[in-house]
Symmetry: C2
Subunit: 340 residues, 2 copies
DNA sequence: CGGCCTTCTGTGAACGTTCACAATCCGCGT
DNA sequence: ACGCGGATTGTGAACGTTCACAGAAGGCCG
């Protein structure tokens, strides 16, 4: 309950001026050793700790040594791995990290970023929701550096780190084509999410380049969560001329596909690797990306900006890695049909 | 690059005093509507945003509306789920969350907590490492509220939310005993970790209460990660009189057990549920705890303290849930042996 | 028409720290 | 003895905001 001691208290206890305490705490040279010792004893005695908030206020020229990290959902392993590597990078530089989840809700994103900015963060690592373009422009005018990760903020000219979603998807589709599949279904989350749209484009391109047609019956967007994904698969498989393979646009959908098809009824390749993918029966082939690398790169870029790098916004594209575990094979009883 | 506008700038632009701006920004009553309108226009024109750091400095009586969350490893799904629910609870109350991982390293824990405290956090949700007892006492003397979660801080008299690790483990062991296992091995992480030790105690009690003896050959502590766990299992199975079932003390170890025994060579029950546990062959039975509930409860307790609750420290114990998926059964070819 | 209350607005100080500069002490050269 | 330079320490202002209070209008009542 006792109020925190301030430099004033320490000064009184040590019988010196407040400024001398400040100097000792800051580790500045030019304080007589005995004086410093006396001050340090007072500090220990009172349990004094510098108030970094007041400090940052005064030395305004400098930064607040805090960054904000805004992700879609911190509980999602992909984002939490990303968050951890951002935090590690910040820790190494003596920065603190404020964290917030948006739930893919532009309003909550606004709230969170606004609160961060009011706390004078030096920069932001952001997984943008898609809205709030003008809002972010205003933030940046105020000097907050922004780096996007996983997806770009549409219409906002900032650094962005993401993987090559199209190429990664094309590889996956190519793999399925190689295994004889010609009716390959696409299952994705909401198409407004940039990554989902990119993957869908990759799918479309790969299919048409192979000389096949994109059959609208085989396309499903807007699948939120594994339940809906499993249901969608059930419907497709029950329909006429069902697909022989599925491409799933994220890990949750892949999970739904696993639920729906534990019995090897179709080929499957998913975007995003996940724990135990290799222990399932069959083991699931995936397009894998490295969230830690994304986070690390984003943080490094952000700190570069904070350190004064004013070059034109950079766009960093990391590669995906296709991991073949066998789930892309043609299922035993399925009948490949050429065309649609 | 332009310096952020301050209330002074807004005041000048609107032709009023700084205090009037402050009133408008704070939404206080008692400002003439026209004046308020003029001020608000100036605010929009300049893109002004209040500096909450300066604000919190002045109204020191109040809190900084920031809490710190310190976990072992944010990338671990258990802790990230916990983190997410803490963050949600904070968001609902208009608090911000500083986050840090300790990596189970007392020094890093100290660094992080110290930096948080220097930033005047109102409270801390903490997954303690085990060291730093005196350090935390000092922090609390400064008025920082601390709530421990997942494990108590030994020798520190604060609120703590955890599950009943002993009872959960005892249930798991009982389940294995019921299925005829008499040689049940224990695989745990470092015994210095409180949860691990509790689980080990639960194991020991359940075994002895069943009239069996605890065979040191079947006990392994200090397994870090799935690799070591798989190796340990390999050794035990290769030895004389091998166990017919394993209890694994955390999810990583369970993973190692899955790797080592995909072919149903032994019974298995793990502590902590994990994604896809039900999709493996065989599906894995687990003692499940709810990290989101842990986080939510911890946050609620912390905010209670921040709001002035001075009651004696509470210890909240949440129940675990045993999920029987079948992996505890006696494997086909194994020979149950009574006694050791 | 004076007094007083109400409504609105402004002033000075303060939060805890650092910056820029001034003051003090000491030794030493001339 | 005088002043000068270096080392050490102190003083006042400032960062951007809010608190406590004071002042300036205007209205209403007796």
């Amino acid at each position: 309950m006792a109020a925190r001691p301030t430099m004033k208290d320490v000064a009184k206890a040590a019988g010196v001026s407040l400024m001398t305490v400040s100097r000792v705490v800051a580790g500045e040279a030019g304080v007589a050793p005995q004086t410093a010792a006396r001050v340090e004893e007072a500090i220990r005695g009172l349990g004094y700790q510098r108030n970094d908030i007041a400090r940052n206020l005064r030395r305004k020229a400098q930064d607040s040594r805090t960054i904000g990290l805004v992700v879609d959902d911190l509980a999602n392993p992909f984002f939490s791995a990303l968050a951890r590597s951002v935090e590690d990078e910040a820790y190494r530089r003596g920065f603190l990290v404020l964290v917030g989840s948006t739930n893919d809700d532009p309003r909550r994103e606004r709230d969170v970023v606004s609160a961060f900015s009011a706390r004078q963060v030096d920069g932001l690592v952001l997984v943008p929701t898609g809205g709030n373009r003008a809002f972010f422009r205003a933030q940046m005018a105020r000097g907050v550096k922004v780096v996007c990760v996983d997806r770009p903020a549409t219409g906002l000219d900032v650094d962005c780190i993401a993987v090559d979603n199209r190429a990664g998807t094309a590889t996956a589709i190519g793999h399925l084509l190689d295994r004889g599949h010609t009716r390959i279904a696409y299952l994705g989350d909401r198409q407004e999410i940039w990554t989902q749209n990119e993957r869908f484009v990759g799918y479309t391109e790969a299919i048409t380049e192979a000389g096949l047609e994109v059959d609208p019956v085989l396309i499903r967007h807007g699948l939120r969560g594994h339940r809906q994904a499993a249901a969608a698969i059930g419907e497709m498989m029950a329909g006429p001329n069902p697909p022989t393979a599925f491409f799933s646009g994220n890990d949750l959908i892949t999970l739904g596909a696993v639920e729906a098809g534990a019995c090897r009824r179709f080929g499957l390749v998913g975007f995003d690797d996940f724990v135990l993918a290799d222990k399932l029966d069959p083991p699931i082939s995936v397009v894998s990306q490295d969230p830690a690398a994304l986070g690390r790169t984003a943080a490094q870029l952000l700190f570069g900006r904070i350190d004064g790098d004013n070059a034109a916004p950079r766009s960093v594209v990391l590669a995906t890695r296709f991991i073949d575990r066998g789930s892309g094979a043609m299922a035993a009883g399925s009948t490949p049909v050429r065309g649609g």
